[in-house]
Structures are given as C-alpha cells and as structure tokens.
Symmetry: C2
Subunit: 240 residues, 2 copies
Amino acid sequence: MTDAAGTAGAAGSGNAAGSGNAAGSGNAGGSGNAAGAGDRRGRRRAETKAEILEIALDLMAEEGAASLSLSAIARRLGIQPPSLYKYFPSRHAVYDALFALGQRRYRDVIAEAAARAEPPGLAQVAAAFEAGGRWIMDNQILAQLLFWRPVPGFTPSPESYGPALETRDLYAGMVRAAVERGELAPAAAGEEGLNLLASLITGPMSQQMANGPEATFDTGAYTRLLARMPALFAAAYPPS
Amino acid sequence: MTDAAGTAGAAGSGNAAGSGNAAGSGNAGGSGNAAGAGDRRGRRRAETKAEILEIALDLMAEEGAASLSLSAIARRLGIQPPSLYKYFPSRHAVYDALFALGQRRYRDVIAEAAARAEPPGLAQVAAAFEAGGRWIMDNQILAQLLFWRPVPGFTPSPESYGPALETRDLYAGMVRAAVERGELAPAAAGEEGLNLLASLITGPMSQQMANGPEATFDTGAYTRLLARMPALFAAAYPPS
DNA sequence: TAGCTTAAGCTATAGCTATTAGCCATAGCT
DNA sequence: AGCTATGGCTAATAGCTATAGCTTAAGCTA
C-alpha cells in the first residue's frame, strides 16, 4: 500500500491532466467551464480516478491482468460497486485508461533512454531496447495489457493508442540517425524495417513473459537476448 | 455442426486416445478395465469430450479466447451447465485440454514441414517457420492459448505442456543438422541459440496477432518478415 | 451570503457466470 | 437378469457487470 505510493505518485502526476482529457468524456456536456478557475470538483474527480487506476494496477498484479473486477476495486476503495460507474462508464473504460497510462509511461521510458544515449543511432536503439525491456519486466501486468491484448472484448481506443504511435516515431528517429551515420542501410528506416525492429523486441519479451515471468531482466534467459538484437538488426540492413 | 466434423474429425482421431489419457483422470479409480474389450461407455465418453472441445473452439473463435463460458458450451450442446462437470472438473480443465490439443497439432505441423523439406538444416527451419506461421494465422484462438496465456488463472499442466518440449526438440534437430552441414556455428544448437530461434518466430507472430489479426499469412506485414528470420539466425551464428 | 445545480454516494434489481449438492433413470457391463 | 455407475437433471450459492432511480451535500454562481 505505502510502497504503492511510488506507482501512484507517478500515475497521479503524469496522469492527472492526461487522464482527465482522455477518459473525461463525461465533461463534454458540462456547462462549459472545462478547466475553469475553481475546479475543485474536477480536481477531486481526477484524484479519485487516479486512485481507482492505482488500485486496479495493484489488483491486476495480484490476480492477473484479465481478471480485474470492478467489485474488487470498489471493495478496496470503500464504496459500492455501482458508484464506480460515476467515474468510468464500463469495465473496458478502466482498461482503456490503464492502456493509455501504460503507453505513456512506456513511451517516456524509451524517450528518456534515447535522449541519454550517445552517440545517436544504433547505440540509442540498444539503450532503448534495454530500458524498454527492464520496464516491461518491472511492469509485466501493464505490459501484458499493452502488447498482448489479454482482455477478451477489449480493444484500445484511438486516443489511448496514440502514444504507441509516438513510440514508433521515436524508434524511427533513432533508425534514421543510424542510417545517417552509416550504421544501417536506408531501407532500415522504412515500414518493413521498423516492423522488423519491433518484432525483435517483442520476440524475447513475449517468450520471457510466457515462459519465465518470475525472472528479472538480468536473470532472464530471453531478456538476455535483447542485447544482441541491435547487431541482428544491423545484419538485416547492412550499410552498402 | 456437420462442417465442423472436419475439425472434430482431426480432433477425434488424433485425440481419442490422447485425450482419454490426458484428461481422463476420472478413469483412475475405475474397476481396472481402462481400455477393455467392450468399452462402449468409454467411447461415447471420449466422443462427447471431443464434441465439447470442438464447440469450445467454435465459441472461442466467435467470442475471444478468454471469454469462453461453460454455460454457452452447455447451451450449444443441448444440456444443462452442471452436466458438463461430468466430463471436465472445471473451466480450466477445458482450457488445459484445448492447450494440449493445440500443442499436439502445432507439433505435428512443424514435424511434417521439417520432414518434407530438403535438404536438412536451415531449409527445414525456413519451412517449419512458414508452416508454423500459417498454422498460427489459421488457428489464432488456439495459438493465443498456446503462446500468450490469455486466460487469467490458467497455467497448463505438465502433461499438456509435453508436446511443446517435443516441438523444441524438433527445432533442435534441425539446427544440429544445419550445424553439421556447416550452415551455422555449433553454438546455435545450444540453449541460447534455441531461445533466440524461438524468439525470432514469436516476435513477428506476436506483432501480427496484436496489431493485424485479420490479415492472412500472405498479406500480413509481420508474417512477411518470417521468411527473413532463418537468414538473421544464420547471421547471429555464422559458421567459422 | 443564499440558493441552486450537480457530483457522488447509496439501494434494489436484472441477468449473467462457475461451481456444488443431491436426485434419478437407464445404458450397458458382468 | 441384476447391479452399477454414468450421464443427465433441478435447486441453490456466491460472485460478477451493469442499469435505474433516490438522496445528500459539496461547491459554483449570482
């Protein structure tokens, strides 16, 4: 609970505005003051929403990603189940908010790793792969939601999917830099090249999560393979 | 029903004995005649079990892998839900039987492709990749169950997992042949090499199923990448 | 500061689900 | 021919999502 505050803090700060916009379809018909001066109500509402998502993450960690129950959330929050519908119109809406939250965090992790890495190009890709892999192993429940689609009828809304496209753009930028540095052939930055790059992360991470989810990034037999993937990608698109 | 006989036929013939052994834990305390002469009862029981699995597959195809409901199976079978428990002790047991069935079919597809391919070695790997990829796209629901673990509390029993190990052995044999032919370095046949090989299939297939499940093997942007994977694997383990 | 709006809780209810308990007929083994 | 146990049933429990409608009080607005 208390240590979940770390997670919650990140969720709250990084999410307060974003979640309000993304999931706040209920505001559409309001009296017009979406973000007026005295938005005390709006603030409390956003806080409660963040709290719900935080509890949802805890529960998913305990019970599995797909077996999230609104009743359990309500129980832990200390309200009756129907009251949750004042914040999210359905169970899928909760998943959608979690999906958006996860995509944003993942994008940020990739962006930060790429920004830190020197020089631009393949070294950035390697850094982003490692950072992404570590994040996935540390946030497996969220990662399942992002990359597996484990929840029966759930497909993310276009808004929630947005950050995923930005992540792809980030990788596209790194690959273009690698091409300019002569580390890769120009085709690497094309559609097919980026698809291949995505597959090279997804492969080991899928295997690791399906066959050894209790491992850490450093001990996993499959996560270990991630370090070799940039070289493999270069082998697929060798500079002329 | 009638056209499902194709599926059922395969399930029934390939499965009659296997399913009886795998899921037939109820026989353990019997009077001793497990497969005696007049096993009319046993036959009908196995038939009904196969029919249940066939209906389950249909329903999963319609509603999604994880949202399989015993009530729906019962409804379609024309019996009351509790009666299903005479055949499977729980919902998870149905999943386990489906998992075993899927693993056997996948193994058979890989084995057949490898057997057909000439010469032994990397050409077999390429053939197995393509055959496996096609099977996965044609049996996405089953594939999700095998490679994604989309069902909350479900983990396959060791018996059901057996064929997966045999599939890995099949690939190990192909890689050893490739090493002997001088197509790959010896390390390719080691633990790490086989893990990498598995990741190279899983990557594109995961991406395809998550981002473009309605594509076919031939039209999918990610399935297309499978053809390049044997060459990538060879790049990772070039012969000295 | 007074009043009104509306957000956010509640209970009750409907319609699902898996699973257990216990009853009974009859198919089919001996 | 007789017995057994298989395979069906109904009834009941506990849990789930979601909807409808009521009520209180928080907090915006004039």
